[in-house]
């Protein structure tokens, strides 16, 4: 069967194609449209998936949308009614927004693709998250937890999944917590309060938290009440996201935590105000972790299973994931490379294949590289036309050369094969650098990524050596496969790995298996031979506010306008030749 999964209209639209039970490709719309967090109907992603597989829309057996749009509309309408008359401003906006496009998904899909309406299916939002987490994980029987801002009504679900010996598959979600009670919305409220972009910059709150102390945990706990059955409920007086469209926190929230941060003011951690914001971040982070640990402990007690699959946007919180692994009782924690809404496109397609159509279970390749492949010739042509120094090297010479450049302190833009599906650069669209000096981190933040000083960088190392540099608990290497956990850097290595050691001594490490990205693995080995430490700084190949690069030319244009020294795509290597802007203007005018 050929099944297309689609997610769209909230954030991170994406498309994924599953053929005969195995994913063929998946890509987020933002990577193709070049608009970060693009939520529009993913026409580009769908076209690319079909082209990649050599299919026409008529060849598809099913198209699956990742949520039940009418049920979601019911929630929006009900919340507007519940908040009457305070919702008078948001009501027209919400209704126009929903009735304008979002509720007519069957018609939209049918008209875009020209497929019959009876081939269009829907999954529950959290069922798609659950499928993305469980059906892509190498486990036969696992507990499932999903948590995000909100789907239709559910914001958090628990259940379990099982692959039967006869090939059948079960995914059973047993309990849910319903909107407006949401861990994702709690965290997003603090994201907005701290002056960051909601649904996009939550990871900045996590990064900032390391600079603070959870001195405001008691205040943060006033926002979230634990219920007798072990769940939680947010105290509505502190929030406005369910009543207005303008602001997520209320005046009482401000009374509790003080004035919100102006998004245009940099966070100065030397000032009392800057430290207050860091403490706020640390406090909500602590509350989130504690709540998740309690829920997963209870889930472990109830299921008695050793494995947990965790999906939904909250699963991007690597600090919380590490605590769940350490404290919940589960032996292994599986977080997919795209646990957020983009991953729901793949989850919805897999769910339909296994559950709706009862197709036998097939092992899903355990890697994140489902996107478009880089074209090295495209890079070579463009760079030559611009007078850049281009070299074409064979595999081993290239690896040795890049290792030399990294050892010499140069910063490398690295493009290799198919792009990653999900928000992390896991070795195919990465900026690589030596991990040893704080100056490298500062240079990357200042001259290359153009982002805040407090933001940490992640390391990548070989799976065999990970435990030498990082204090990984049992099961830690699995969580580190897709950079889903934050773990302590071993104290004796912190000074030597200063560029990737966060202020609290931790790092969001990627433990790389040779089979997953053989070229990067070879590069780590070559770098290790030179420096004694097969560890590299690995950050996503983009600048602040832009999606990760996809095609070679996107990597090239990023290379041209920021401080990257060397660019690699396949066998092609480009060294930067610098010209002053005035010279360039005169030369090209």
């Amino acid at each position: 069967m050929k099944i297309l999964g689609i997610s769209a209209h909230y954030h991170d639209a994406a498309a994924a194609l599953v053929v005969d039970g195995v994913p063929i490709c998946a890509v987020q719309e933002e990577r193709l449209s070049r608009h970060k967090g693009d939520a529009s109907f993913p026409v580009g992603a769908i076209e690319w998936c079909l082209d990649h597989a050599g299919l026409e829309p008529a060849d598809l057996d099913a198209v699956v949308f990742y949520e039940r749009s009418m049920l979601k509309f019911e929630r929006i309408l009900t919340c507007a009614l519940r908040a009457f008359p305070r919702s008078w401003r948001s009501f027209p906006h919400a209704i126009k927004n929903s009735l304008g496009e979002k509720v007519w998904m069957r018609g939209i899909i049918s008209s875009y693709l020209g497929v019959p309406r009876n081939k269009i299916f829907f999954t529950a939002h959290h069922a798609a998250h659950a499928a993305a987490a469980f059906l892509t994980a190498p486990t036969r029987h696992a507990a499932i937890l999903t948590a995000d801002g909100v789907g239709e009504w559910a914001t958090l679900t628990v259940g379990h999944g099982e692959r039967h010996p006869d090939g059948g598959t079960d995914i059973t979600l047993q309990h849910e917590i319903r909107y407006p009670h949401s861990l994702g919305m709690l965290y997003s409220t603090f994201t907005a309060y701290l002056g960051f972009a909601v649904n996009e910059d939550e990871y900045k709150v996590m990064g900032l938290a390391a600079y603070g102390r959870p001195t405001m945990s008691d205040q943060a706990r006033k926002l979230i009440r634990r219920t007798p059955d072990g769940a939680f409920a947010l105290v509505p007086e502190y929030f406005e996201y369910h009543t207005t469209a303008n602001r997520s926190y209320s005046s009482r929230f401000i009374e509790l935590f003080g004035p919100p941060r102006n998004a245009y003011e940099p966070i100065d951690l030397e000032t009392a105000e800057g430290r207050r914001f860091a403490d706020c971040a640390a406090s909500v982070q602590r509350v989130l972790e504690d709540t998740l640990v309690d829920i997963t402990r209870a889930l472990h007690r109830r299921t008695g299973l050793p494995d947990l699959c965790f999906g939904g946007g909250v699963a991007l919180n690597g600090v919380a994931n590490a605590r769940i692994l350490a404290e919940s009782g589960f032996e292994r924690l599986f977080v997919p490379s795209a646990p957020g809404d983009a991953g729901c496109a793949l989850g919805a397609a897999l769910y339909a294949d296994r559950i709706y159509f009862h197709n036998p279970d097939r092992a899903v390749p355990d890697h994140p590289f489902w996107g478009p492949t880089v074209d090295a010739q495209e890079l070579a042509r463009a760079a030559r036309e611009d007078g850049q120094a281009v070299e074409e090297l064979d595999e081993s010479a290239l690896i040795e050369r890049i290792a030399d450049e990294l050892t010499a302190g140069r910063i490398v833009g690295w493009m290799d094969g198919a792009s990653e599906f999900g928000p992390r650069a896991l070795g195919h669209r990465s900026i690589l650098a030596a991990p040893h000096s704080r100056a490298t981190r500062d240079r990357l933040n200042r001259d290359i990524k153009y982002r805040e000083e407090f933001r940490p960088f992640a390391p990548v190392t070989t799976i065999e050596m990970a435990d030498r540099y990082f204090d990984l608990p049992p099961g830690g290497t699995r969580l580190a496969r897709f950079m889903s956990g934050v773990f302590p850097v071993r104290p004796e290595w912190r000074d030597k790995l200063a560029a990737i050691t966060h202020v609290d001594g931790s790092a969001r490490v990627q433990a790389l298996e040779r089979d997953m990205a053989p070229r990067l693995y070879a590069l780590l080995e070559a770098y290790g031979r030179r420096t004694g430490t097969p560890v590299l700084l690995n950050t996503s190949f983009n600048v602040a506010g832009e999606p990760i690069v996809n095609r070679a030319l996107e990597g090239y244009s990023t290379f041209r306008r920021c401080g990257i020294d060397v660019l690699v795509a396949g066998p092609t290597l480009v060294m930067k030749r610098v010209a002053s802007p005035a010279t360039v203007k005169e030369a090209v005018a």
Binding site: R34, H35, R68, S69, M70, L71, T78, L81, R82, F84, P85, W88, F91, P92, H93, I95, K96, V103, R106, I120, F121, F122, A124, A127, A154, T172, Q174, H175, E176, I177, R178, H181, T227, P228, D229, A231, F232, A233, N246, R247, N262, A263, Y264, E265, I355, A382, D386, G545, E546, R551, L553, Y556, S557, R560, R561, P581, K585, E586, V588, A589
Partner: protein, 290 residues
């Protein structure tokens, strides 16, 4: 005024010379023309469109107020940044190496302008942080930008014509803004710096348009103008229909919804919090949107 006249004369001369050079001489001359043209334009004012002269009181109203000034600067920051990213996209997609380099420089300029506006807006905001500028009301319209142009599939000549018209309009408008912020030297300096770049952008887009489409570049410019007007009309109509739709929904909200709101609130009070069991048959109807 004599200075204006002088600059206009310089510009006219350069334009005429440019036409001559474009028609008759080599690449080297063309390059020389471009540099001269850029430099002389940089010394002149942008030509202000009649509509902007007409709207001067509105511009003065916007820039005369602290809150509005900050919001306008921050809105410009977003527009310039978005425009820069779109032009960057054009640089990635064009098959023409020369245009790729020019678009890249142009995009870098636009992204820098975005930062300049953002930093200035933030600096002004820092002076009077107690004002709730950002949290009350939507930002003021940002002025020029790349509107809703889809870069993908757009031929270079159409994009160049569009950029030329947009940059020209921006240069004219920024000339007015520069005068209206005389009391604020830092903001004025930003407009002056940006104006210099806008003039360069205006000129290179025009000369490249003549290179890419020598036979009908004028027609493309007129088409771009018409298209810009049409989009402006489209935006006004969309805003109007949205406002009418919003008003109708608001009336319905207050007339029709109160009894349903009462019922919804009553139901909410009865709703248990904590874990809610999920019915096993919830996912039994794969075709249902409910």
């Amino acid at each position: 005024m004599p200075l204006d006249l002088l600059s206009y004369t310089v510009r006219l001369t350069v334009e005429v010379a440019g036409k001559y050079i474009r028609l008759t001489t080599s690449d080297e001359c063309r390059r020389a023309w471009n540099i001269v043209c850029c430099q002389s334009f940089a010394m002149t004012k942008g030509r202000v469109a009649p509509i902007d002269w007409f709207l001067r009181p509105v511009h003065r109203w916007v820039w005369g107020d602290f809150d509005r000034r900050v919001r306008k600067l921050l809105a410009f920051a977003e527009v310039e940044t978005d425009g820069g990213r779109d032009i960057l996209r054009a640089a990635e997609l064009t098959p023409d190496p020369l245009l790729r380099r020019l678009y890249l420089e142009h995009a870098i300029d636009e992204l820098r302008h975005g930062n300049l506006f953002r930093e200035r807006g933030a600096a002004l905001l820092h002076k009077r942080p107690a004002r709730d500028v950002l949290f009350n009301g939507t930002p003021l319209p940002g002025g020029h930008g790349l509107d809703d142009l889809r870069i993908e599939g757009e031929p270079d000549h159409r994009l160049l014509a569009f950029l030329h018209v947009a940059e020209k309009a921006a240069a004219g408008r920024f000339t007015i803004y520069r005068e209206l912020v005389d009391d604020d030297p830092a903001t004025r300096a930003i407009f002056e710096e940006i104006l210099r770049d806008e003039v360069f952008h205006m000129n290179y887009t025009y000369t490249q348009l003549t290179r890419v489409l020598p036979e009908s570049y004028r027609r493309q410019v007129w088409l771009a103008r018409a298209n810009r007007l049409w989009k402006r009309y489209g935006r006004v109509v969309a805003a109007l229909t949205s406002a009418i739709g919003g008003a109708i929904l608001l009336v319905q909200y207050f007339i029709l919804l109160p009894p349903f709101a009462w019922l919804a609130k009553r139901a909410e009070r009865r709703e248990p919090v904590g874990w809610t069991p999920i019915p096993r048959d919830r996912n039994d109807s794969p075709n249902s949107q409910y």
